[in-house]
Symmetry: C2
Subunit: 646 residues, 2 copies
């Protein structure tokens, strides 16, 4: 190979030596981005490497612990919470494991499936807890194999609570967490990053604090990569623990577990389970206000913030682990006040990346699923290779069927009654459908006074970027151009632009204007005549539910519609309009009319028949204006079409 | 797979139906480009498909026949002629085969190697002639295998001239061209496109014209794809021949062989060999002017143009095949007057593509070899896969050693004496080297009155694009920044721009400013200090002959410096600055000082020692300004460096 030469001055070392001299409050953050830009490092490193890099760069970080939900509905909510709390930039989340709850099963609510969803669909680095006592080797190995298959890369190895009152050691069984650590390293070599639990006050069942420290050292020496501690109430408890660990030779990262007190009862329950004692000074504050939830939470936030500050100021703490109890408010508040909640407008790519290792290189997707990224991930989950750099030619792998429109991570957050209020209890004609689309765009309430905050093709309100096109979108939707996806043209905005920016800083992003909509065959006929005038400039694909397809795409090649140019890198083109994928997307796009909208109404009802008519007769159209440096001509195309019709 | 849907209206049919309505003189050309843009079609189609597409689109084409040269020097000249005549856009060239001249050998002058060079190094679609009589099956198969291995895809199957006066049929041997056609199809299936010869007046040895037509039909039915005819003197001869062929069921393309008369003696010799008779009306013109070469050539051009016009006007002719006799002037003149010489400023990529089938998808190269594309092709000839879309990561395949700097297709067109006049009979110091570089840039004569039209790193005068930077380049070369490669920044010029454009029309091309030069360690020290101010904006690689390497490239990733955005396609980024390839390039770049320059002088001579000193002590530097939308900052970087030095 060619690369035998020494690199006397590597990128990271040069950047680092410069770090101190650069100005601005976020210099350390920026310099770490410069040498190892988000785009790659975050996707290519394993958790322990990310942790080390953050420690080296001085960037403080946090992580979030959740437990698996009890019901499918709660699971849907938890996934939304993952998305919202993921926006703050946790280094990882972790999902607990309760042997009684069938945690390794395929149920929507199992620890395994929740962790899978967090990794694959929410793009979060995730640690799956796993306990070992009272389990066979085969069971454990099966769980680990499944975790690996699903793309999970990190395990929190725990003993778990014994069954029954008295715990007895099993010969050749898993008796301690260290047995699980050894087993993982034996069976899976270095595949998993392993975390173990530390007890700042000693494990309640340990002979002594010192004996517990020795057990912890055993776990680390058996192959654990880092330690997360049990909660504690005083910073000095943790700092002493870290020093004691170091004194006996434990050198891996030790992450303090932070428990913001959120209510009187949850605190009592936790204390009971963990066998910890609440310090008197805390009891003194809480007891008098025990019936005032808000007051307790405010106090809990205050307490957590001051403890975290002390920990961070000690210089011994680089990351904080939060026991969220699946709640958002208190933890988010603490993180924001600490200044480590970093809602970074700079996305690494315009779409949310998945954290599955096999998707590490993925950096191109068809634009069609822009508002349904989880559906895209689901339908491509069987792929072995993901597009990198180019989408490639039309012989790309097939998309999986989307049989279950109620897949829990695709399920609408809104219940049926709410959808009916938004989309109409009773439709009177195609125009009432036009009105629903128009209200979704404008954000104005419909004639019954309800805002339309989601659509079958988009479970969220209009994206900020789409807002740039609001006026024109409103105009065309009123006339029966029922838009479901669009983007403005962008001619070289900085990659740090708060609305359209993505990727590492110092770059420039570009877009071709895109418009995708359903419309009647009458409008399509006129549109096709108009499009002749725009040959070369506008690429189009027009398809109906039967698959009759009209396009001017040369050789059915993909058209890149979003791309970015960055310092020291190859071009990145994360979204394309791919003619072949469009035919898979159209099945989904048409089915959503029926599955999400028509089925809200009784069979044979006029409302249902209206939606069915649109489904059967409308066309799905996408248009790309290739002349991105000029003013977007797609509105002119639509205007010309209506003019021709009149 | 997903693509089961009918495409009721494909790209090409929609474009074609529009073709008639579009205005402008080149509408047919443009519409064929729209539906099947140069970028792909020309590289992916086989010759017979290209021919069919040109016939369908109505685009007239031409092809050029050459014979292998006698000497290595003549070979170098022929290769230059390929490059020059290739610029006119021949559909293919063909290389004749003379059994006496060892045509299948590895000699620089063999038919095989000349055809190989045309395909691989000049990027020309090429037909290799092959004769079969008096040859064994194994010989023939060996030649064909070698041709295939070298990337040749087309064979002109001929009988060849018998040895001795009387020809006897060999039992089980190759007696007729049809035997060779059958053999190729038997042994190589459909790999080769096969051409056969047609005789508008009948083969001189055939029993009759009709019998010869039947032989031709046999050749076609045995698997030939098209026919090129022997030369003829009257258009009606050819047109009758085509009709007679069609009458007996020959439907493949029949291409007229055109022989522009270029001199009295060459005509006489050709007539003798081909046993054709020159019509009296031509003889009447030529005989009186037989000693006036210019007059005969003018007459020959005139005659050829009028015959070609008649052929093209007949509607039965789509392409013209020229017997060039390895000369340029007459054929080029005819082609230009016919308007089918199309010197298209629109290159499919910024560099000349190779026509080897395995390089079909290649569309990314390091910028370093921009002026030495043949060296790049040579050094990557063993690769099995070529970069498409992305250059990829640093673990790319190794570059072959460039051991022989006098490889005939890399050999300088200028002899030693001329190089000495340009680069100095005697050097007096580093400054006299600076002067050579400066004169090359300015185009002004050196102090001995000689223009410097080539350099060791560039065998041609300055590129038009580089001229845009002339003033600044002159300034820095005078001061010892010895530039060997550069490009200006381009922020979205039309792809049809005559200077910097490339790729299909309707697109936009971009460049990051690039500067590559040799310079002293003193300047490098100052430069490195200056570059700290430009972190993120400027990427640099600085290396000396020993391989000491300084760079700020993030993770040694490639930096795309040329890219294009086109209608209906993915992004194309044909040139990158790749840190790993740069280390292979630097070996070549440094070696050229010695091999091409130092060795012009006696060993131990002061001139040679000056070049040797530069080779041993200078650094090779490349700089990229990542902020392509802003004014190129690299000149400022150089200015700052000199300021720091003063």
């Amino acid at each position: 190979m060619v690369n035998e030469t020494q690199h006397t001055c590597s990128a990271s070392s040069s950047s680092k030596s410069d770090g101190g001299s650069s100005s601005g409050s976020e210099s350390s953050k920026d310099s770490s981005r410069c040498s190892t830009p988000v785009l790659d490092a975050d996707r290519h490193e394993r958790l322990r490497e990310k942790m080390r890099r953050r420690q080296d760069s001085g960037d403080k970080w946090f992580s979030l612990e959740f437990f698996p939900p009890r019901t499918a509905n709660a699971a849907v909510n938890l996934i939304s919470r993952f998305d919202r709390m993921g926006a703050g930039g946790p280094l990882f989340i972790d999902v607990t494991w309760h042997p009684a709850g069938d945690p390794g099963s395929d149920k929507e609510t199992s620890s395994m499936i929740i962790a899978n969803t967090a990794v694959n669909y929410c793009g979060l680095e995730t640690i799956l807890h796993m306990t070992c006592c009272n389990q066979t080797k085969d069971d454990i190995t099966g769980h680990l194999q499944k975790a690996k298959r699903l793309g999970l890369k990190n395990i929190m190895a725990l003993r778990g609570d014994p069954v029954g009152e008295e715990w007895e050691e099993e010969v050749d069984g898993f008796n301690y967490a260290v047995d699980l650590v050894k087993h993982i390293r034996n069976e899976f070599d270095d595949y998993f990053d392993i975390c173990v639990a530390g007890y700042p006050k000693g494990h309640p069942e340990a002979e002594s604090y010192e004996a517990d420290l020795r057990h912890l050292k055993e776990k680390v020496f058996a192959g654990a990569d880092f330690i997360i501690t049990q909660l504690f109430f005083r910073p000095e408890t943790f700092l002493k623990f870290v020093k004691d660990c170091q004194a006996i030779g434990i050198t891996c990262p030790i992450i303090p577990g932070i428990f913001p007190i959120q209510g009187y009862h949850s605190l009592r329950q936790l204390v009971k389970l963990s066998k910890l004692e609440v310090p008197q000074e805390i009891k003194d504050v809480i007891e008098p206000i025990k019936d005032n939830d808000a007051a307790i939470r405010n106090y809990g936030v205050e307490l957590a913030v001051s403890m975290c500050r002390e920990l961070l100021d000690s210089g011994m703490v680089h990351g904080l682990h939060f026991y969220t109890l699946n709640r958002e408010v208190a933890t988010t508040e603490v993180l924001k006040r600490l200044g480590i909640w970093k809602e970074d407008p700079r996305r690494p790519l315009p779409w949310a990346v998945s954290a599955h290792p096999k998707r590490r290189v993925e950096d191109v997707r068809p634009i069609f699923w822009a508002s349904r990224p989880k559906s895209y991930i689901y339908r491509t989950q069987e792929w072995d290779d993901f597009p990198n750099g180019r989408w490639g030619n039309s012989s790309s792998p097939a998309f999986g069927e989307l049989k279950d429109y109620y897949l829990f991570y695709l399920k609408s957050k809104s219940p049926r009654e709410e959808l009916l209020k938004m989309w109409g209890e009773e439709l009177t004609g195609e125009e009432s459908v036009f009105e629903v689309f128009t209200c979704y765009i404008t954000g104005e309430p419909n004639k019954n006074g309800h805002k339309v905050t989601c659509m079958p093709w988009n479970d969220d309100p209009l994206a900020t970027e789409t807002n740039l096109l609001k006026e024109q979108l409103e105009k065309v939707n009123r006339r029966g151009i029922l838009t479901i996806n669009s983007q403005p043209n962008i001619n070289g905005k900085p990659s740090t632009d708060p609305i359209v920016g993505w990727g590492p800083s110092g770059g420039y992003v570009f877009q071709k204007a895109y418009l995708e909509f359903f419309t009647s065959s009458e409008i399509v006929t006129a549109l096709l005549k108009v499009l002749k005038k725009y040959e070369l400039r506008v690429n189009y694909h027009i398809v109906n539910v039967k698959g009759q397809n009209i396009t001017n795409a040369p050789d059915l090649q993909p058209n890149a519609v979003t791309w970015g140019i960055f310092p020291g890198r190859e071009i990145i083109q994360p979204t394309v309009v791919d003619p072949v994928s469009f035919l898979s997307w159209k099945d989904e796009a048409f089915a959503l009319w029926i599955e999400q909208w028509a089925k809200l109404y009784e069979e044979e009802s006029p409302s249902r028949m209206i939606i069915q008519y649109i489904h059967d007769n409308y066309y799905l159209v996408n248009l790309v204006d290739n002349d991105f440096p000029l003013e977007n001509c797609l509105w002119q195309v639509v205007d010309d079409t209506f003019e021709l019709l009149n």
